[in-house]
Each structure stands twice: as structure tokens, then as C-alpha cells.
Symmetry: C2
Subunit: 335 residues, 2 copies
């Protein structure tokens, strides 16, 4: 009999990845990627992904037993229907699971990328061995997903895990969702960049008002100098990466902005811990590379916000950008 | 064969209730209550409850098939062990499930009262028919519990549902837990009373600063007059009930305090909805009797905080103070 194969598919915003896994193994049998061409719609992307999957299956023969799919947008996981994509037109109400099942002849499970990434970390990454897990990706935006008792918890409308839009600072930084002081606006990449720009433009007063770690003021450098230099003198060009770099170089303004973002994240996580008491919190995404001080503030603040009887185990993600793909394999494995 | 019987026990702070249910029925076969004498310890209370249970079972013969227990304090539900009571000494690390099982000869499940009340509302009350439920009791303090996919979600340490200690207003009202601006401090009975006292003592300026519903200012009455009269002229004697009554009588200060508490609760619920996307939120406890305006502000604020794709179904609890007892019966029924 032919060997069993699982197919994992990850539809990202601009790149789509497919991989084959032999059940029980921990390295991909095969792996491939295609990029969306500018102006591509849902039909193009589905055709490109199907071509890629068929090529992998042709080159690595076996019995396809199940397909798991991570999709970068809201999904009705129960029905296997993509609600929409925020990046690519034409995905509205696409019955992706049914279509793939018809094309590939195997059962298909679909869920959104944050949920699937959570399952990936739980099955193959930093969440192994725990019974409940909150996964949060702190990157351009903030997304999250829950694994409770070994299963994705998507909630009544597939929206669970949206910790990025929990308000942690009423009246704070305006968020893309229309509220102010959402965790995303206070702690993610664009939020960090926006706050740094505002503080640069507002000068010392803004820095003082927002700076919750006064020791950052006592540096020998003048606040903002290194950051502004990295941005070529134009505050509007500041990015979160520049903030992290300037902070590492000792710029007190950049450090204060980063500390402030870490503290907002810790507060949000502490609240989530009080609400759900997960055994572990796994943090992924680019902002988590901001250094040991950022991690320390996140953990200390979460500990201070969480009730003393709760566990506060906050660890870095292990799978990086591959978390959704590994999660898709885990979804397939569970079918 | 003797009819099957379920025994439900509810250990409260000062009163303990026991009831017998024939599985599948919706009215108690028998029901009794004992009160803790002042100075009672865990041993007294356990003996009194056991006496009561034995009496009910003697008077209503049958085959005891299972026992469900609601306990007013932290519980390790997996092991059936009471961690401690905040009201009665001597409960530390009591293996309540094992003891009751030895005494009564039937399997026993124990959980804390907020979790059990959530299960009670889900099985017999306002949560019937939904797949996920957040239950919050807004009373002297604020407690909460989750029922997800038909089961209590207690979390890694039995602490899930502690929405009362999620910070909704950083730097706000000091909370018993040591933080500031916890939902409990901003929205529960003692929080409402404390805020009313502070605003009465601080005069109009405090009122203005905290008042998020300016129309409350436009009443014909002078702010605080009715409330102060209810408290016999002594601001330190103000209670949450007086605030609700004065608000109903048109006192603008009392109304503003109540509105502010409702808004804090709505914000906390909106955050919980973004995090977990429950199908329904059930609110119980004395503060929920504060009137239609309070409910409207809670619902509107939660809707504003929750992402548009999430359901925001916020309904009053149906079982009142009996929710833990009904939940204990549901716990027993599930054994």
C-alpha cells in the first residue's frame, strides 16, 4: 500500500506555501511556494496553489489522507468557508474546503492563520505538552489564537483570539478598528512606529508623559537622536525596526517607546490570563525580537496584572513564519 | 429498583444549601438550608452540610447516583480539593470530593461557585441552547465562569473567569487585589459605592471628570442631593443600592456613577468577547437590577468594544442565587 501523506496549505497575503508530511514525522517530505502576482484575485491564487499541490503530490507519490489549510483572513471553520481576504479580492464566501476536497479527493479542514499557527505551536513548537495555550503574534499587527484541551477554540463566529483589539489604554493611540488604546495600537509594529513619531514630534514633554520607565531618561544620549539618524532625519520615516535598533544603541526615546509597548502587551496578556488561565502563552512575530529587556517587561507586567494563583508562563514561539504551515499539517493530522 | 437521585450541594460564605433532583426533572424533589454559626470552621460546616444531606436522603428515599458541589472559594476541580475559603477558616487543601464520596457512597464533582453557576445557567437557565457562555455575576464583587462546548472551562489553575481583575481603567479605582482600575473596582457594588462617596466628597469637579454621559448633568436636581439624603447626610454611609435608588429618583451624580460603572463593565465584556467570542454572555448579581439604562449602556459599550464580526448577546441570568445549586445538579448529572 502507498504511504499515507498529509498536505498542508498556507494561503498568505502575497505568498502561498504547500508542504507534504508523512504522518508522525517532523520534517517535511516536500515543500514549495508560489507568490501572488500583483492584481491577482482569489481565482488565480486558488489555481496557483492547486498546481503547486498537484506538482508536490506527483513528485512524491503516496496516498493523500487529509488536507489542512491555513488562510490569512476570517474563516468559518465549521463549514470550511473563507469569509473574505483583507489582501486579495474575490475570496468572499468561498467554500474552500469543499472545492479542495472535490479537486484532491481527501477530507479538508480550513481555519484562519492565527488559530492554525496556535495549533502548529501546540503540536510541533513551543506549546508542546501543555493543555491550554494562547498564541499571540506581535508583528505588523497583533493576532492570536487559542488551543484549549488540544483543539482550536475559534468561538461562536470564528473570531476568538482577537486580543489585538482589546482596549488596554482607554483614550490611547487610535487603532485601525476605530477605537483608541487597543493592544494592537499600543504594542504592534505600526503602533510602535506611530508612537515613536509622535514622541519625536512632540519632544520631551510627550516622552515624559508616556515614559513609564524613567531610568530610560537617564541615558547619556539625547532622546531621539539615534532614532532620527536611522530615519535619515525624517521622523515620518521611522519604523518599528528602527526603534528597536535605536533602543539597542541606547537612544532613551526609542527605549521608552519600546518599554511602553512591552508594558501594554504585558497588561493585555495579564488580562487574558485572568480571563482564561491558559497554561502557557506563546509569543511570535517580529516585535518579539526586540531583546531581553522587552521580554522582561512583558513578563513582569503580565505577572503584576495576573492574579497570584495563575500560571504566567510566557515563552517565545518556536516555528517562526512556518507556524501556520505546521498548524495546517496538525489540522490535517486530526481529521 | 429505587429511583435515581442527584444531590446538589452549595457551600456559600454563611449559608449552605442542599437539594435533591430526579435526573431529567426541573424542580427540586427536596431542598434544605443551614446557616454557619459565627465562628464556625470548615469542620462544623462540613458536618452541618452532611447532616442536612443525610436528612434529605432519609426523607426522600432513592438511589443516590452522583453528587455535585459548588464551593464559594478556589477549588482544584480536577482533584476535587478545596484550596481555601475566604470566609471560613480551616478549609485549606480539604479533599472535599473524596470525603463526600466516602460518606455518601456516590461519585462527587466539586468546582468553585462562579464556574458552577455558569454551568447552572447553561444547563437550566439563560444559557440554554448555546455552545459557549461567559457568566458574570456583578454583585458585591465580580466573579465569572466559562462554559465552552458544554463543559466548565476552569483553566490551568482553576482560575479562569476572573474578569473582575482585568484592568479596564489603568490608574483607576484602587482594587482589593492591589491593582488600580480592575473591572471589579470600577463596576461592582463596593466600587460603585466607593466612587459615589469620592464624587460626593470631591464635588462637581470629580463628577464632571468622571461623567461620561453628560446628559446626566442636565437633570433638574442638584447632583448628589437625593443620594446624600438616602445616606442620612453621611457620604460614608452610601451603598450601591442607595446609588441605584437615587439614580432612579433622578439624582444626576448617582446616575453618572452608575453610568460610569455600566460603561466599565461593557468595556470589560467587549474585551472578553474579542478574546473568546462566546455565543452568549449571561449577567447575574444584584447590580444587574439597576435598571434598563444600565443594561443599555453595558450592551452599547460592549458592542462598541467588540469587533463587528462577533456576536454580542448579553442577557440577564435566570436562576438568581440558585445558579450555583442548579449548576451543582448539572455537575452531578454529567458524572
Amino acid at each position: 500500500m502507498a504511504r499515507a501523506l498529509l498536505l498542508a496549505l498556507d494561503y498568505g497575503g502575497t505568498k502561498h506555501t504547500a508542504a507534504l508530511l508523512v504522518p508522525g514525522e517532523r520534517t517535511w517530505l516536500a515543500h514549495g511556494r508560489v507568490f501572488s502576482s500583483p492584481g491577482a484575485d482569489a481565482t488565480c491564487d486558488q489555481a496557483a496553489m492547486l498546481d503547486l499541490a498537484r506538482r508536490l503530490l506527483r513528485e512524491h507519490p503516496g496516498q493523500l489522507t487529509a488536507v489542512g489549510v491555513s488562510f490569512g483572513g476570517p474563516v468559518d471553520a465549521t463549514r470550511g468557508v473563507v469569509r473574505l481576504s483583507h489582501h486579495v479580492p474575490g475570496w468572499e464566501e468561498t467554500p474552500l474546503a469543499a472545492r479542495l476536497q472535490a479537486e484532491l479527493g481527501a477530507p479538508v479542514a480550513v481555519d484562519n492563520d492565527a488559530n492554525v499557527a496556535a495549533l502548529g505551536e501546540w503540536t510541533f513548537g513551543a506549546g508542546q505538552g501543555c493543555t491550554s495555550l494562547l498564541y499571540v503574534t506581535v508583528s505588523t499587527g497583533i493576532g492570536g489564537g487559542w488551543v484549549l484541551a488540544g483543539r482550536i477554540w475559534g468561538g461562536a463566529d470564528g473570531m476568538a483570539g482577537e486580543i489585538g483589539h482589546v482596549v488596554v489604554r482607554p483614550g490611547g493611540v487610535p487603532c485601525v478598528c476605530g477605537k483608541n488604546g487597543c493592544l494592537e495600537a499600543e504594542a504592534c509594529g505600526w503602533g510602535i512606529a506611530a508612537k515613536a513619531r509622535a514622541w519625536l514630534e512632540g519632544g520631551g514633554e510627550r516622552l515624559k508623559a508616556g515614559n513609564r520607565h524613567p531610568e530610560a531618561d537617564s541615558g547619556k544620549q539625547e532622546a531621539g537622536t539615534a532614532l532620527l539618524a536611522l530615519a535619515g532625519g525624517r521622523s515620518e520615516a521611522v519604523t518599528a525596526q528602527m526603534v528597536a535598533q535605536a533602543a539597542a544603541e541606547g537612544d532613551p526615546l526609542a527605549q521608552a517607546v519600546l518599554d511602553d509597548a512591552a508594558e501594554a502587551l504585558g497588561a493585555g496578556l495579564g488580562g487574558a490570563i485572568n480571563l482564561m488561565n491558559p497554561e502557557r502563552v506563546v509569543l511570535g512575530g517580529g516585535v518579539t525580537k526586540a531583546g531581553e529587556r522587552w521580554w522582561q517587561i512583558v513578563r513582569d507586567t503580565a505577572r503584576r496584572h495576573a492574579l497570584p494563583q495563575t500560571r504566567v508562563e510566557i515563552v517565545p514561539a518556536a516555528l517562526g513564519d512556518d507556524a501556520p504551515l505546521w498548524g495546517a499539517a496538525a489540522l490535517a493530522q486530526a481529521l
